[in-house]
Assembly symmetry: C2
Amino acid sequence: MKRTAFFISDSTGITAETLGQAMLAQFDNLELRRVVLAYVDTADKARSAAARIDQAAAEDGKPPILFHTIVNQQVRGIIAASKGVQLDIFSAFLNPLEQALGRRSNYTVGRAHISTIGAGYEHRINAVHYALDNDDGARINRYDQAEVILIGVSRSGKTPTCLYLAMQQGVYAANYPLTEEDLESTALPRPLQPHRSRLHGLTIDPERLAAIRHERRAGSSYASLRQCEDEVRMAEAMFRRHRIPCIDTTHISIEEIATKILVDKGLR
Amino acid sequence: MKRTAFFISDSTGITAETLGQAMLAQFDNLELRRVVLAYVDTADKARSAAARIDQAAAEDGKPPILFHTIVNQQVRGIIAASKGVQLDIFSAFLNPLEQALGRRSNYTVGRAHISTIGAGYEHRINAVHYALDNDDGARINRYDQAEVILIGVSRSGKTPTCLYLAMQQGVYAANYPLTEEDLESTALPRPLQPHRSRLHGLTIDPERLAAIRHERRAGSSYASLRQCEDEVRMAEAMFRRHRIPCIDTTHISIEEIATKILVDKGLR
């Protein structure tokens, strides 16, 4: 059963897509074509979107599923007249929310959907630059500004996790790669010693690590299973010895790793 | 009117928070305390969450607003018995979706909410590493792999936008900072010449740019308004001369910049 899902918005479409994908993930083995239509904010664009919906309905022989966050009334009307099943996110929640808050929403285009300009936003951008400046132990002298410092062997997932924490949560996250010299010592690496409470370890299955490293440097000793096994074993021993909490990144996504670290460190 | 909003999930809480914040953004001047409770996946954690909700109800003198995506039935029951206004995201959409698809959802904890392990996920992580390797024109020899190349003056927003495109969309995005030498020439910088169709310009209000640069290097000529005005004027002239599409980043968020570029380049 081939079918199409549309995520439609007169703004970025991030809410429609996030919610829609979460709902669709509750169904196994859906064969779905997924189409995001962002900034559908004029009658012309709405008519062109409706034409695409109707065309998908004809091709699939089934009405497409539409997740939408559309504020503009004219655009809503045009989409509502298309041959899709409407899952209207604003209608589902704005009424109960207006009742709970005892006031009307402004329901205006361009109003957020996302945290945008303002103190919180600038903080997130600064956090991204901080993560870049403090990636891979580059400037260990700024660790005192870090809210969390991720440690682990090369390619265990530190950098993407730091960037996600910065961009999505505005968290100042640094990272420190464990070198062979670090791993062979029973002491905590010196630059990390003043910051023990902010450390969080990442570990990974050695076979998975070898596969990731192989993509970067095929056939190198760096990518050999033997080397990966040794490094991971020593890193995990270090985490245990110094009671550093640790998360296995092998089977979970960056979003999940980041959220678990935030919960663990009480940063939310 | 002080009040509390909770975003609750037995998984990461990303869907609950994204949707909830989008809905709340439709109301002006809300004085809200916002609390994310992620991984509420046991009866114990649910009772502790319910206690926090009831305490907020008592302190605020108003029931808190609860946006939740909870699959676990026992956890749902405990949260439902708390003194909050329930905005139950799964209930609102899973029933209509089951009808539209003509099948039952599996409704199991840990099922996505997010695109997780798999080809798409690895592609996103590879895109993040690509963005880092190709940041600030560091390795211009890999531009042929880029789906989009952002160009603009220093601190116009290129790096965070590239990282967002990579992490959230799996887009291979490189960036090239326009130097004074580049700006004084009427030709397109040589490394960019083979890739014209993939270029996208970023511009920014010179006063805003001066403020951003000032935070980085206070009092430098780099941060002077005069310098910022000159650079921005020359960059905009270059975009016009070579018909490179351009977006003003002054008043919009990274999410919006990224989405507009995707729409413009037909990358979604």
